[in-house]
């Protein structure tokens, strides 16, 4: 795996490496800087749109986010309104995707479930990245015993197979939003830590770092404004894949009855609740699962597409 090939942002030819130098030197007028940044952004979007994986993934992500943001407008029923007389109905004109075992509208609950899933995913991914990135940076930059301690901690988190750590954590902390955030965030810390550590280790001895050191920049400044910007491209990929992962864990835990308590509109919980009624209304178990699968697919495709764009040699890993 080559780190160099990943050091450029979103396939834009101009590296952002000397990030602070242009601003500090003041050679480039502010207006031109803005235009250049805008041109870079436009190029990034064009490259993204040309990659079909990233394009389809991006569209799915946008649709999902739209559902989450506009849930109150898109839902046709109150997601918590119980209507026993109309329970376990199949798709029909008045209930587009049918109803669940309490007669609640499946379509409206899926729409609100998007909000639940995205809230947890955004929170968990943010926390995981905010803890993992500094830990990895410190491990790679300061080395020796600190590196060893941090990396053994990461190894310990990864020593739990699959979702076992998240399951144990929510079992201990109880279900609900906060515990889910913590459980999912903790299990995703090592991923960021290891990624950032790798980049920092590879960049640490490069000339531009040496130069910054000779100019007398303090170490933390070298780390944050010189070295860390190199992580941005692989981090975007990792964030996208981790988002998918967070949604999967949330729905898994809720399916096990350890995540969100009823009557929350959570895709995993919806599946759990209709499982005893599979024989009566199998379709009730199809739609929430499809929502999970398509959302995860979207984030994975987006991440994979980005990786193809940024590093065509990724499969050598």
């Amino acid at each position: 795996m080559s780190v160099d090939s990943r050091s450029e942002p979103l396939g834009v030819p101009e590296p952002i490496r000397p990030s602070t130098s242009s601003g500090r030197a003041g050679f480039v007028p502010r207006q031109a800087q803005h235009e250049r940044a805008f041109a870079q952004l436009a190029t990034s979007f064009r490259i993204l749109a040309r990659n079909r994986l990233a394009l389809v993934g991006g569209v799915i992500i946008l649709l999902g986010s739209g559902m989450a943001i506009f849930a109150p407008l898109l839902a046709t029923y109150d997601p918590y309104a119980i209507d026993i007389a109309n329970r376990l109905k199949g798709p029909a004109a008045d209930h587009w995707l049918g109803t669940d075992f309490l007669g609640r509208d499946t379509y409206s609950r899926i729409i609100w479930g998007a909000r639940t899933a995205f809230q947890v995913a955004i929170g968990a991914v943010t926390i995981g990245a905010l803890i993992g990135i500094p830990l990895g940076a410190a491990a790679g930059f300061f080395s020796s015993w600190l590196d060893a301690v941090i990396m053994r901690l990461m190894d310990a988190i990864m020593a739990f197979p699959g979702r076992l750590l998240a399951i144990a954590l929510v079992a201990a902390l109880g279900g609900g939003f906060g515990p889910l955030l913590i459980a999912i965030a903790i299990s995703s810390i090592p991923q960021y830590g290891r990624l950032v550590r790798g980049v920092v280790l590879a960049q640490r001895e490069r000339e531009y770092v040496e130069a910054a050191r000779m100019v007398g920049e303090p170490p933390w400044r070298i780390l944050f404004s010189e070295i860390l910007p190199n992580c941005s491209a692989p981090l975007v990929i990792a964030l996208s894949l981790d988002f998918a992962h967070a949604i999967l864990i949330e729905s898994t835990l809720s399916f096990l009855g350890l995540g969100f308590p009823p009557p929350t509109a959570s895709w995993g919980l919806m599946l759990k609740e209709v499982t005893p009624f599979l024989e009566l209304q199998p379709l009730a178990a199809i739609f929430p699962g499809a929502a999970i699968a398509i959302t995860i697919l979207g984030f994975n495709m987006f991440g994979d597409g980005l990786r193809d764009i940024l590093d065509p040699r990724h499969y050598q890993e």
């Binding site: 053994r152 190894d155 310990a156 020593a159 197979p161 699959g162 076992l164 079992a171 178990a285 995860i296």
Partner: protein
């Protein structure tokens, strides 16, 4: 060289396992509720008198400070004592020994299923790059990773148990005593776990095959006039499979660490479902021992896979 590598990896694993045990211990302490009360049956409405409570609490060592309790737990674990289940009053080691075989059998069946799908799919996709076959294989891979295994399990149950009535949706049979019944029970869980595994494997194998097919030795073999089938199977595919051994190992280790959800859905009496039952019943020793053993197994299998890989492929740089 291998020996020193093994020693080095073991030295690395010891602190990790200590951290894991500390983590498991602390997590279990966080579980709300008093284990002594659970043991006395207070959670199911039994009357508990103060004296009895204090006595049992002392007997179980719960009146000791946390660090002491951790140390005594670890020292007992090292001697092979994982404590006694609060519910069934049986040793946790005994419960695990009883349930682990089912987990292993499921892992093996799932692994075979995955290899059956992934090896042909990966190789053919690489040979027919950018054709419909390739797109189908890649589509399978994308969906296989995206579909949560509990949803796939429900779909299979709807189709094969409810609609067609071909397969039992829950249960287990001893594979050595009644292989036929075991297979009928194992097909659906194995397909669920195998699909996810095959989805990852197909991708890596395809990429690796494409890489190998462009290598000089393949061109040389072709130039020597070897038949295409021979070149593909004996040369390129063989080396590609070697490269995906680590992925297979990692995935197998994960399966041996317990396929929690699948075991639960199909009422498969494995170690992971034992753990879940422990969680639902607030049976602390079972949760504590179960999580620890599953994690230790995972670390150990990973270590073996790494060592085996170094041993198979001497080109891999030791370090």
């Amino acid at each position: 060289m291998i020996a020193s590598y093994v020693v080095q990896r073991l030295a690395q694993a010891v602190p990790v396992l200590l951290l894991v045990s500390l983590g498991v211990f602390l997590i279990v302490q966080l579980i709300p509720g008093d284990p002594v009360l659970v043991m006395l049956g207070a959670d199911v409405g039994a009357n508990v008198n103060r004296e009895q409570y204090e006595e049992l609490r002392h007997q179980l060592g719960f009146d000791q400070p946390l660090p002491i309790r951790y140390l005594s737990w670890v020292s007992r674990v090292v001697q092979g004592d994982l404590g006694v289940s609060l519910k069934s009053r049986r040793p946790v080691t005994e419960l695990l020994a009883e349930r682990y075989p089912a987990t292993i059998w499921l892992a093996v069946t799932a692994l075979i299923t995955a290899l059956f799908i992934a090896i042909p799919a990966g190789i053919i996709a690489a040979l027919r790059q950018n054709t419909m076959v390739d797109y189908a294989a890649m589509g399978f891979s994308l969906w296989g990773i995206a579909i949560p295994n509990f949803w796939l399990a429900l779909i299979l149950i709807i189709i094969f148990s409810i609609n067609l009535g071909w397969l039992p949706s829950i249960g287990y049979a001893n594979p050595t005593a009644d292989p036929g019944r075991f297979l009928r029970h194992a097909i659906m869980p194995a397909i669920v776990l195998g699909t996810e595994m095959a989805a990852h494997l197909t991708r890596y194998l395809r990429a690796e095959m494409i890489e190998q097919l462009s290598q000089d030795y393949v061109r040389a073999a072709r130039a020597r006039g070897l038949s295409p089938v021979r070149v593909i199977l004996r040369h390129a595919a063989r080396n590609s499979l070697l490269a995906v051994v680590t992925i297979v190992g990692l995935q197998t280790a994960r399966l041996l660490g317990g396929a929690t959800i699948v075991e639960m859905i199909f009422s498969w009496p494995g170690a992971a479902s034992l753990l879940l039952e422990g969680i639902y019943a607030r049976d602390y020793p079972v949760v504590q021992g179960g999580v620890l053993i599953l994690a230790v197994t995972y670390v150990a299998v990973n270590l073996c896979v790494d060592v085996a890989y170094k041993w198979i492929d001497p080109r891999v740089r030791l370090g």
